[in-house]
Subunit: 190 residues, 2 copies
DNA sequence: ACATAAATGTACAGATCGGTAACGAAAATC
DNA sequence: GATTTTCGTTACCGATCTGTACATTTATGT
């Protein structure tokens, strides 16, 4: 199987797991929805967990790249980009087929901290925080860690709200809060 | 079965589902862990979903009562209580056996918005926001909805962080952000 | 065109899933 | 103390689960 074909399989499997959940999606369903026979799938992935891990890794790469790209389009300066985070999230929430955060779901279904899927999902979140921190550093904030954590909390809260709460445009609401927070935050002394 | 016995069964089932997940916990496991035979369980709950729904409802009642109680202990005034939210969350995160938010997990596993478990979980979140809003109103903020949403976002973000992110004491960090936000927020004009 | 590799559908193994039937024991009710 | 309800145990049902075997067909590379 060509690498591109394998990617395509993983991407289609991602859709199945994303929509129906990991444990709720049987391999027969995955085979049907991806159009790849179960035999062929198991030729390339030893177990279902291996496939799920590949799904998580693909999503990690693609989603982070997409998110960074959108943030850098919405905002020019580092400080603008800290707020553009929420514009990008708003765009994400508005996409048809938005069903929440795959990584939060993955950790909800694979609770064992030793499970690779759990760890990979946590690693994804760490990268998000690290990116926000780099923006906060570039923007010259005195406490970039606190800034990054706050932006991240607000963004994750908005994600949860987008799935569970009857809040209109949670990303916009979180953006307002973030803007006020940034306006009050101290800059690094020269 | 006495109501108290039934409650006890639901409470023990809650522990099973909380620790292992809903789909990953078979009814045989539930029977074993609760000490109630599968037959007896099915005498009182028509299906597994019915039991799960009872679990969600029990958790909703108990957890909200606990959270409100802790918040009102940590804070005296409404404004203090908006920050005490994070003290209560910190206490929750520190409890042994903390495994994240059951309602977030429930929505992750029951994605269909028409599913009662999904709806009940969302209703729980709505009650949380409503409580924060009542505090914001009592504290005299000009825009209690925005205040409530921000507190809620930060709290939910802290919960996600407590499970997934390598952030030390996320509740304390969220509290700092919330305090700054409240300090800048406008009061209602008399 | 041919040899090789890989995909397919079907069928299956073994385990587990949600849920039930049957029956004796226990216990609450009258 | 007799009766009725509820309980646990055990075994089971059909469906579905992950994962595999196998023979056939389809791509692929030279």
């Amino acid at each position: 199987m060509r690498p591109s074909k394998k990617d395509e399989l993983v991407r289609k499997a991602l859709n199945v797991f994303y929509r129906h959940g990991f444990h709720a999606s049987g391999m027969d369903l995955v085979a049907k929805e991806t159009g790849v026979s179960k035999t062929a799938i198991y030729n390339h992935f030893r177990t279902k967990d291996d496939l799920i891990l590949a799904v998580i890794k693909l999503r990690d790469e693609e989603f982070r790249a997409w998110m960074v790209s959108r943030i850098e389009t919405y905002g020019e300066t580092p400080e603008e980009r800290l707020l553009a985070v929420f514009d990008a999230h708003a765009e994400w929430f508005a996409q048809k087929g938005f069903f929440g955060c795959l990584f939060i779901k993955a950790c909800a279904e694979f609770q064992d901290p030793a499970h690779p899927v759990h760890q990979q999902s946590c690693a994804h979140q760490a990268q998000g925080i690290a990116y926000y921190r780099s923006l906060a550093v570039a923007a010259g904030f005195a406490d970039p860690d606190e800034i990054a954590r706050t932006i991240w909390f607000l963004a994750q809260g908005a994600i949860v709200a987008a799935v569970m709460a009857a809040i209109d445009n949670p990303a916009a609401s979180a953006r307002v809060a973030a803007a006020k927070m940034l306006a009050c935050a101290e800059r690094r002394s020269v």
